[in-house]
Symmetry: C3
Subunit: 363 residues, 3 copies
């Protein structure tokens, strides 16, 4: 029942050059090792190019130089070679197309069990799933799909072709662009964490800003993006957010950033374009990060980063005993430093090297 | 269509002293820079007081001394000056009142699509949204609002004026006080993580305690608070929890604590009153923290903290190369310490300073 | 109204030896201190055995040696002593049985408000709650209970006796074994985080693998487990996952692992059997961890761990001032190390100890 496609047709559609039988039928992808003759595979990392000859995939996407290598090996090939410039990107594009071609069509229209406010504007090609609630004056674009149980607030706008998985909540007035993918359980536009201290108690500061999300953004499962306090929280175009990320109020994230799961970004941080943030990293608030900054997993960004580059800060892992020793010594480190200085004086060594005199001594 | 309020009426209601035209109409807040004449602004931090003269806000909330400064500047003012003691708190109070005054009224009653058990007691002024499920013998107080898709277990109690955003789940028997705000996706009362090891396998320990939450508590989106194992998990009055916080079973949190997003508190930890915890911090279980303790973001609390104060523990951020060097040296630190000791002996220095002799050597 | 059980009947059912009146009626557990005569208590840790004599519990589960100790104390006992081999495991088993015996019976069948695809196969003994949506060709086993508002994708399989709390989302094709417990807000099978970089932009890689979950697995509230990219994400039998855990695509977790809340595991990590991971720990992707590895809370696993044992890596907590000093010194550590080396040369000490020469210098 799986729908298959002729290799030659796929090459014609996506480009590249085929070495092998164009009449083969394929219906999906697998890894080089696992692929059967009905599946495509790809070689992204040249390190594995000696695995190509052994693969029984229908065809393997690979770069010209890797194809040359494979052919030079002189082994009999059971897979066709599909030569292209960026095998990994080509794989992504083909797989996306295959998925769309073979997906179950969800019929347009509003499910019987959904509750749509009379003033909401729903494009006729949109699909509103069972149990969805859509608020007053919301605008849902063409071919948008809201899966089951989504709650869309008043005056929310959702751009064309955006896919919203089950049980997503979008608070009033938030705006999502076109071609977004929002995964289950995400919450967009909840109140930012803003309170004024009044004696022992906290007085809530109403969060009256919105969340504005660009085009081609992906938002992971159970990720939360808070609305702004006075101004808006802004997510740029092409941003990819993994699961369980927390974005505080008034944060601004530049185009094409990608952040792995469990990242937390505190209020009013400004992140440049094309940044990547590793899983579990924490970015503190009221700071700004330049374009093309890469923050390693589990690192804590406590100050603005003005230059592109890779930044890191987490305690290295050891077996527990070694960690206990190094952590204990770490607490004595200021003392060690002082003792070293005294020894240097005793030895008539200029203990005050430029580095150690530096006034940029803040951690 | 936005409803506006006369400045003089607001001053009469909230207190303070107005310098300027009391007949102006305003309808909300903005920052000093962004505010138009129809909006209020506030000056909380004296550092920015030279921005007041340039603001075209309808009025600026500020302290007497800042008003004196602004007037002494002698620049022409287009904004009125609203002098009060705590501009930031006053801003919070006025903004809250404005929001309530202008909010769409949600009608009381049980939505057609909701399913309320016949034995549940729902105050006539409460509003139960579409898709909500309310269990047996639950008690829902006056003016409570359950937004769409909430699931409220059996015997749950929710106090007056509590606002529950969409898709919140409250397990059986949990108790929420008055004037709480619970954001979308929060889960209150799921089982604590309790298992007894039996050989290789884990045997589940039923979690039969409840979650008891005080008055004036705010709970962020997708935050989870586990029910107690035998006793209850208890959240004090006025506690503010940001998004994606995890509170383990039997934890007790004192009044007026505030915790930023992504904090995790393990089982049976006891946190005092008025503590603050920065984003991403982890508090281990079975320990206790005094009143007025402040834990920095991303820090790990591994032992009881008996004194108020600020506590911190995270690896400082560096560019990746510098981090690699410091992290590598850190692993050698016990060795460095030993070598330093040897050098000191060689130099006839009493290497055993008091600090380094300390028996409190555990990290 | 609470249903009570005779002590003698319970001992007959669960094993062990009773010293005291077998006709007492009990209906649940409490701690040694809090237990009333109608409740059972247990002594798991011998450290507290001098509290037994003072307890007014109906009976106390304890080991033979602790019973001997208590009897040797010679104090009058108001509690019976229930001697058994593993009091904590016995407590877990009895409490589980009591909970099941006294639980409200949820009637089998499909709630009026649920939407079940005509091609789904639902066992007659299963219970599908209000607001649930079950997709095409899904298979729901015997005595499965889906609480309110769950969304179950097409071709999903759920094994016998699995309990799914409200508002869980399971994406298409995922497979859950028997006797699982899945807590509210969990999301199983959302897309893994896979994108190919194409210039500045990211091209989505369709995630076509599934999530396969074994038997006797518990999944915490708002935990997310991503589907595989090409292959499947696999969770072994008896695995216990706490709340807000994130499991990336293609991760494999061995049998009987237990992970505390807020753990994040990046894509393609392979975790052995019987591992435990402390709260907030981060495990990076494409690495493998041996059986019986224990990762401390808040630690970051950056490399494969081939040997069983306890591994740790987080910055120790200090008061903020001490942390500032140690963190500042840490940044100078490579410099300190260099200065120490120079001093050693000056003192004619072989500064190049074996440790410090090591080439395994990577953090």
């Amino acid at each position: 029942m799986t729908r298959a496609f002729q290799l030659g047709d796929l090459v014609a559609r996506f480009g590249g050059h085929l070495i092998g039988d164009a009449r083969r039928q394929v219906h999906g992808f697998a890894t080089l090792q696992d692929a059967t003759p009905e599946r495509l595979a790809f070689l992204a990392n040249p390190r594995y190019r000696n695995q190509v000859a052994g693969s029984v995939a229908g065809a393997v996407l690979l770069r010209a130089e890797d194809a040359t290598f494979v052919q030079a090996e002189g082994k009999p090939l059971s897979c066709a070679l599909w030569v292209c410039e960026q095998p990994y990107v080509q794989f992504a594009r083909i797989a996306t197309w295959l998925q769309a071609e073979t997906a179950t069509v969800v019929p347009a229209g509003i499910s019987a069990g959904a509750l749509v406010d009379a003033t909401a504007v729903i494009d006729a090609s949109a699909s509103i799933g069972p149990g969805c609630v859509v608020g007053a004056a919301a605008r849902i674009g063409a071919r948008v799909r809201l899966a089951a149980g989504c709650v869309i607030g008043a005056e929310v706008e959702i751009g064309d072709d955006t896919l919203v998985y089950p049980r997503v909540v979008i608070y009033d007035q938030c705006v999502l662009g076109a071609r977004n993918v929002v995964h289950a359980g995400a919450v967009i536009g909840a109140d930012g964490f803003g309170f004024a201290r009044d004696g022992a108690a906290w007085v809530k500061i109403p969060q009256t800003g919105r969340v504005l999300i660009g085009d081609d953004v992906e938002i992971g499962a159970n990720t939360t993006i808070d609305r702004g306090a006075l101004a808006d929280t802004v997510i740029g175009n092409g941003v990819k957010l993994d699961n369980q990320i927390q974005i505080g109020h008034n944060v601004r994230i530049g185009d094409h950033c990608a952040m792995a799961a469990c990242v937390g970004i505190a209020g009013s941080a400004v992140v440049g374009a094309r940044c990547t943030v590793g899983g579990g990293a924490i970015i503190l608030g009221h700071l700004s990060i330049a374009d093309d900054v890469h923050v390693s997993a589990a690192s804590v960004v406590t100050r603005s980063l003005h230059k592109p580059g890779q930044y890191t800060g987490f305690y290295p892992l050891s077996d527990n005993k070694a960690w206990e020793k190094s952590a204990s010594a770490l607490r004595r480190l200021p003392d060690l430093r002082e003792r070293l200085r005294r020894l240097e004086q005793l030895n008539d060594v200029s203990g005050t090297t430029r580095n150690d005199n530096s006034h940029d001594d803040k951690p």
